[in-house]
């Protein structure tokens, strides 16, 4: 996938879906057209980010204006539990009717026959969503997810702490060295106990970015990149910060999560995703925060990803479930998402309110990253199988094992898992 293409919308996808709709099965019972105001049904909706609850509730309310007798019960679980539960539910044929899906898990569920084919949703304007996202949720030419949002990674900078430390707020194009020096200055000046804070257990906001910034890669052509020296250099970035004492080790962020530490004023820089803007704004109500692009290594890079809504293939109310997917991803729902400030909506031309919610925060950084230097979240058919192996990096971060050995071991185990796909 070309970087620039991630957010480019195209009408070809729309055409393809229209064709698919003609050739696809015309089982009317499973299509939302069979629904009416009187349709009675009960649906469950499962998601993982409780910060987005207001948007979910508002969109369900809008759905209920159209279908007052379809009762939707949302439930939320933390990210890690979410996937454990979803997998167990999939096996037990207990999947929720509608649920969030992400790139790393999509192919597994689609190839396992767990997801309802949404290609027959004729009135979804597929061309309004970024092609890359539509493609991300397409499996063997069938669409199994309607894009919901997209996200990139950037640095949240606490201006107050930078001022106390006598530092200038960094600008676009700042380098790894400048980042490391700033972190050190914050700690040494006593402005905050830590310079940077990232949850190193979350690859997407931490080492995945630096791996690509260093010119390395996570997977390429079914091979792990963790034995590549450049990849290792990307992880070394964090080892250096931990060694400086400017970034808390994973044992610290396990006790108190990195975003929590940042909110408590324990550090000057926080690497985070665009989805964190909402909870951060609830804590920092003024303009003490500004968003800055991730520092540059050999090149600039930021991981881009986007979620979609999917429906269970075995839903007892498939027509209603598909209608709900549509309602959660249509233009109005995306506008709600933007004005609530929860996530950057995927639907074309609905994003503005999201970027304008806090002008002084410089939120455009997230879209600039998406437009010019974003790297798609690395994924394969069974991503979960090898992502699980990455926990062994904690051994390196906590100093239990040398980084190089850990990465070599990780690469070997990942390649085994990739070979089994």
């Amino acid at each position: 996938m070309k970087r620039r293409s991630f957010l480019a919308a195209t009408s070809v996808a729309g055409l393809a879906s229209a064709l698919a709709a003609c050739s696809g099965n015309s089982d009317s019972a499973s299509s939302p057209e069979s629904l009416s105001k009187d349709t009675k049904a009960e649906l469950t909706l499962f998601y993982w980010d409780k910060a987005q609850t207001p948007t979910i509730e508002a969109n369900i309310a809008a759905f209920n204006k159209e279908y007052p007798n379809i009762k939707v019960t949302p439930s939320v679980a933390v990210y890690k539990d979410y996937w454990t539960k979803l997998r167990t539910q999939a096996e037990g044929e207990q999947l929720p009717d509608v649920f969030w899906m992400n790139g790393p898990n999509f192919q597994l569920y689609a190839s396992g026959g767990m997801l309802a084919d949404l290609s027959d949703l004729t009135d979804v304007p597929w061309e309004k969503y970024p092609t890359a996202l539509v493609d991300l949720y397409t499996y063997e030419n069938k669409k199994y997810g309607v894009p919901k949002d997209y996200d990139t990674i950037a640095c949240f900078v606490n201006k107050t702490i930078f001022e106390t430390a006598g530092l200038q707020v960094p600008t676009d194009g700042w380098t790894w060295e400048e980042h490391r020096a700033a972190a050190k200055a914050i700690k040494d000046s006593g402005a905050a106990p830590y310079g940077v804070m990232v949850g190193l257990a979350d690859a997407q906001v931490s080492y995945y970015n630096t791996i690509y910034q260093a010119g390395g890669y996570v997977i390429k052509e079914k091979k792990s990149g963790f034995d590549d020296p450049k990849t290792i250099a990307g992880i070394q970035f964090w080892m250096d910060l931990i060694a400086d004492g400017t970034q808390p080790g994973p044992e610290v962020t396990a006790d108190t999560p990195a975003d929590q530490l940042f909110m408590n004023g324990q550090g000057g820089i926080h690497w985070g995703g665009s989805w964190e803007v909402k909870p951060l704004r609830e804590k920092f109500t003024g303009d003490e925060i500004v968003v800055v692009p991730l520092p540059k290594g050999e090149m600039q890079a930021s991981i881009i990803h986007g979620l979609s809504y999917a429906a269970s293939a075995k839903s007892a109310n498939l027509a209603a479930a598909k209608a709900l997917v549509k309602a959660m991803t249509n233009q109005a729902a995306n506008q709600t998402e933007a004005s609530n400030g929860t996530a950057i909506p995927a639907f074309a031309e609905t994003q503005k309110p999201w970027f304008e919610q806090a002008p002084s925060w410089n939120l455009d950084v997230f879209s600039k990253a998406a437009d010019s230097y974003a790297i798609p979240y690395p994924a394969s058919k069974n991503t979960a199988a090898w992502v699980d192996k990455q926990v062994m990096l904690a051994d390196a971060f906590t100093g239990k094992a040398p980084l190089e050995d850990t990465c070599k071991k990780l690469a070997t185990e990942m390649n085994t898992a990739l070979g089994e796909e």
Partner: protein, 280 residues
């Protein structure tokens, strides 16, 4: 010298024992006391350095929040239901089977009893995967019955009840039979009332295990509405990692029923458990 004074002098001589027991007792009690205090504190007070044990003003709102953040009532009823049904079923089934193994003559008795005892020797996880598949094929996942079913049958309870029946004199039954009672009547009206302490021991161990058990309900229930409290608390703690006051309030509420039950019948609980151990 009065006997009261003598007894006090004796306690004085026991001072090292009292010291050890008081210190030990504090260690035992402290987590509970602290949890209750935290459940009434504001979150900042809980994270205060230096520690602050007594809240400035009791935050009853923490308890109200439990009902907002967790389907507490439905989880509570699930816990009650699974506990009551499993305990009732075990009492009836284990005492019946225990009686048969203790008193009745039938072919293969030794073998069957051996098969029951063998279950005790095998770690519980070895059953879980297939039990899960059975519950799934019965379409009972996410239901209280799915949680209940395997736990209705207990090898330990059967063993305990058999021991209790064995210790009764046979003459009782023989006399009752001569009076014209049938086997069921003898069992139900004459024998069962005589083994109340053992029945109580089975009940108390089942109640405790059933209320507090985590692994099996964690596997069978994934939705908040269908979970019992043990899984609910684990989920809540994962969801609201740093909302300590809320977690403590929910924990206090989840444990309270067992403690109320215990304090209303503590003597019998302790005696019951002592029998369960001695007979084991």
């Amino acid at each position: 010298m009065s006997s009261a004074a003598k007894s006090w002098r004796q306690q004085l001589r026991y001072w090292p024992a009292h010291l050890v027991l008081i210190l030990g007792g504090i260690v035992m009690l402290f987590p509970f006391l602290w949890q209750v205090l935290m459940s009434l504190s504001a979150n900042v007070e809980i994270q205060a350095v230096p520690p602050k044990f007594i809240p400035d003003s009791p935050q009853w709102g923490n308890y109200v929040q439990v009902f907002e953040k967790l389907p507490f009532l439905s989880q509570f009823w699930t816990s009650v239901l699974i506990t009551v049904v499993r305990t009732g079923a075990q009492l009836v089934l284990c005492s019946m089977a225990g009686y048969a193994f203790a008193r009745m003559q039938f072919r293969g008795r030794g073998l069957l009893f051996g098969l029951i005892l063998a279950i005790l020797m095998i770690p519980g996880q070895a059953y879980l995967i297939t039990q899960y598949q059975i519950i799934k094929s019965l379409s009972l996942l996410e239901t209280p019955w799915g949680v209940i079913l395997p736990g209705m049958f207990s090898a330990f309870g059967t063993f305990l009840m058999r021991q209790a029946f064995m210790s009764l004199p046979r003459e009782l039954e023989e006399a009752a039979h001569l009076d014209g009672c049938n086997v069921w009547q003898v069992f139900w009206k004459v024998i069962l009332p005589l083994v109340k302490p053992s029945l109580f021991a089975v009940a108390i161990t089942t109640v405790l295990w059933s209320w507090n058990d985590l692994l099996w309900p964690l596997i069978v229930t994934t939705r908040e509405e269908s979970m019992p409290l043990s899984v609910g608390i684990a989920t809540l703690a994962g969801q609201y990692t740093t909302d300590w006051a809320l977690i403590m309030a929910a924990s206090v509420m989840a444990m309270a029923p067992i403690f109320v039950l215990f304090f209303t019948m503590q003597r019998r609980v302790i005696e019951g458990l002592a029998t369960s151990g001695l007979k084991g």
